[in-house]
Amino acid sequence: MKRINLILYFLVYTLLNSCTPNEPIKIKQIESDEMVTIFKNVKNGPDQNDSISLTVPIEFRLIVNESKVKGLSLYYFVDKKLLSDHLFDYQVYNKNNKRKPIYSLEPYFEYNPLNIIIKERNHLISKDDANILLKKYNIKQSLNNLKIGDTIKLIPFNQLIKENKKILEELNKIDDSIFFRITLNKGEVSVIKQKINW
């Protein structure tokens, strides 16, 4: 039933690189050079003590035709489940200014292209795997002393997936996608589904 609904309602699918110049928005995922980090999320509480969050950056390049787009919001699905609260599951940043997360995207349309980074915190890896990574990249910090909210910087994402096929496989196992909801002039809405390519 869900699948039928999908076909019914998402009439607009934009595939990578299939844009015409008149399109209101172009969305392209690019392989990010942002840092992957280990993050002590609240999710790995006492019952998940042997695992830890791997914060993976996903980067999109958006080219927005400001005269045609009134609003843009995104919905992050992991394994067909909407990440309901982006405070803990993911955060969105503007690549040009990464100090603070951003919420509504409209004020950033002036950056053209606008590169957004989505830091996804929903992936868990075992502490053993995390320790292997720390050792491999000669990072001296320990997982044991991490407090909730603490992070350890690893290496850039594009390097990590090249050198760690196992992590790439793990990421690919889960169906991740982002829905971009675009409000066009006069309130017309189109939804673009973008599957995450790791």
Partner: protein
């Protein structure tokens, strides 16, 4: 006026007395070092700028954000100070001392329509169809005679901003006043205030369409509807504040069902003795009457745990005199949300509530507060009206209506179902989403402290950074909202649909 002075060589400025400078901001630029030489340095609060004395003129005015007229309007466009609808501004007018304190003068508000300074015949005196007059008395401020006109920038005037758009590029109203004194007409068209559309894009969709109950729909996590009401005695005295949990047993199919249901639960009288709605067929799961006020009597906290509040002395009197305890939800509740004074009275009426330690320490509380009434008014439309967009075909309308009914059913089944519903393609296309917030934030939300969803999210991020652990543990309110395009302002606005209390 702008003044720039170029000096080829050195410039020296010598004053025998004190040299003072007043400005909105002061910038000093130097390519080399900046040196200060003095035996003593003092820093302090800025002094109010001296007011220009113009003895030959009877009036001199300016706009301010404060009644005292000390501060300047914080923003400016290229011409004038800049304000936004929904703000309150003040026009300050220093008057000649020959006009005695207590003299009352009537002012009329105008919107300047032409860029030509002297030309006023095309100017517009009507805002949302009405002329705005203010009658104000001359008062004394620091020995000077002054008039201060308070002006609430009514959000309904967005219609006039829209009208203005046709003729000119800048979409704002340009306000000035006219008045008559001693058979002479005066205009303040040298002190214009530019008024722009409200910055607010976050609105609360009230639970019912008739604008009488100002709160949004509030649910317990099992889908029970939580209603708040005030028990008001026939003589107008407020006896208690109540919360009732109500369970829906109907499955909605059409908008008409939903409307009927809401009319009943939010408008019908409820008999608290029998725990039944007077004319409806819904069962009340739990009913309890309790409230607590905190030290600041402008707030009432309603606890989630059901507590019976003994209202001893007064309670007895009340029962003797008035046997039937009826609660009219809508009107009384709305009055309370709008009138802080009643809340103060309430505290005095039932002092044991505010002095009893037991009731002053809410562990988990819901604030029943002020919904931004005007924000609600602006979008207080028939639910179906904004949901079914004009461009849709008839067949689609039916689909939309049944899905809208599904949304109501999902909420009544509880938080999990509501969360699942918003993941459906229809819901995403229609901008449904949710956000989990703490009790501190829900209080602010219901009081109308957030103008945009961004403001709410920024505060959330701030609280998270301050204390991750503590913040995480207070996330109890799951707020469902709908992002929808508003034609009037030509942008997306966010409507709070309902709040789930998840504990």
């Amino acid at each position: 006026m702008t003044k720039t002075r170029y000096v080829g060589g050195n410039a020296t400025y010598i004053t025998r007395g004190v040299s003072r400078e007043f400005a909105n901001e002061i910038e000093i630029n130097s390519n080399g070092p900046i040196n200060y030489y003095a035996p003593e340095y003092t820093y302090g609060e800025p002094e109010a700028r001296p007011i220009k004395e113009e003895p030959q003129k009877a009036f001199s005015g300016w706009w301010s954000p404060d009644y005292e007229g000390i501060r300047n309007i914080p923003e400016q466009d290229s011409n004038w100070p800049k304000a936004y609808l929904e703000e309150t501004v003040y026009f300050q007018l220093n008057v000649s001392e020959r006009i005695p304190v207590g003299t009352s003068i009537t002012f009329q508000l105008w919107d300047k329509n032409t860029p030509f300074k002297g030309l006023t015949i095309f100017d517009n005196p009507k805002f949302d169809g009405n002329m705005v007059f203010k009658t104000v008395m001359v008062r004394e401020v620091n020995g000077q005679h002054r008039i201060t006109i308070e002006l609430y920038l009514n959000p309904k005037w967005h219609i006039d901003i829209k009208k203005d758009e046709r003729g000119s590029i800048n979409s704002c109203l340009e306000f000035y006043w006219t008045w008559k004194y001693h058979n002479t007409y005066w205009k303040s068209n040298n002190n214009i205030l530019d008024v722009y559309r409200s910055k607010t894009t976050l609105f609360i969709k009230p639970a019912t369409n008739d604008r009488s109950y100002g709160l949004p729909e509030i649910y317990a996590n099992n889908g029970s509807i939580i209603l708040y009401a005030i028990d008001k005695l026939p003589d107008g005295e407020i006896k208690k504040f109540s919360m009732i949990k109500l369970r829906t047993i109907t499955t909605f199919k059409f908008q008409a069902d939903i409307n009927k249901f809401k009319r009943e639960i939010y408008n019908e009288a409820i008999n608290l003795d029998t725990n039944t709605l007077e004319s409806a067929s819904y069962t009340i799961e739990e009913g309890a009457s309790f409230f607590k006020t905190n030290k600041n009597s402008s707030q009432i906290y309603i606890d989630e745990d059901l507590i019976e509040v003994p209202i001893e002395a007064r309670g007895k009197i009340a029962v003797k005199n008035f046997g039937v305890k009826l609660i009219k939800f809508a009107k009384q509740a709305a009055k309370i949300y709008g009138q802080i004074e009643i809340l103060k009275e309430m505290k005095e009426m039932i002092p044991e509530l505010s002095s009893n330690e037991k009731f002053n320490m809410p562990s988990l509380s819901t604030f029943v507060g002020f919904v931004p009434q005007l924000a609600v008014y602006f979008f207080g439309v028939e639910v179906i009206g904004w949901m079914v967009k004009g461009s849709l075909k008839e067949v689609d309308d039916v689909v939309e209506e049944s899905l809208w009914a599904d949304w109501q059913n999902a909420k009544a089944r509880g938080l999990k179902d509501a969360q699942n519903f918003i993941q459906r393609p229809w819901a995403i296309e229609n901008g449904f989403n949710n956000i989990i917030i703490s009790n501190k934030m829900v209080n602010k939300l219901l009081k109308g402290d957030f103008k945009t969803l961004d403001e709410l999210e920024k505060l959330r991020e701030k609280l998270r950074i301050e204390n991750y652990d503590e913040y995480q543990s207070t996330l109890v309110y799951n707020v469902f909202y709908i992002s929808t395009y508003n034609k009037e302002v030509d942008k997306n606005v966010v409507l709070i649909d309902c709040i789930f209390i998840n504990q």
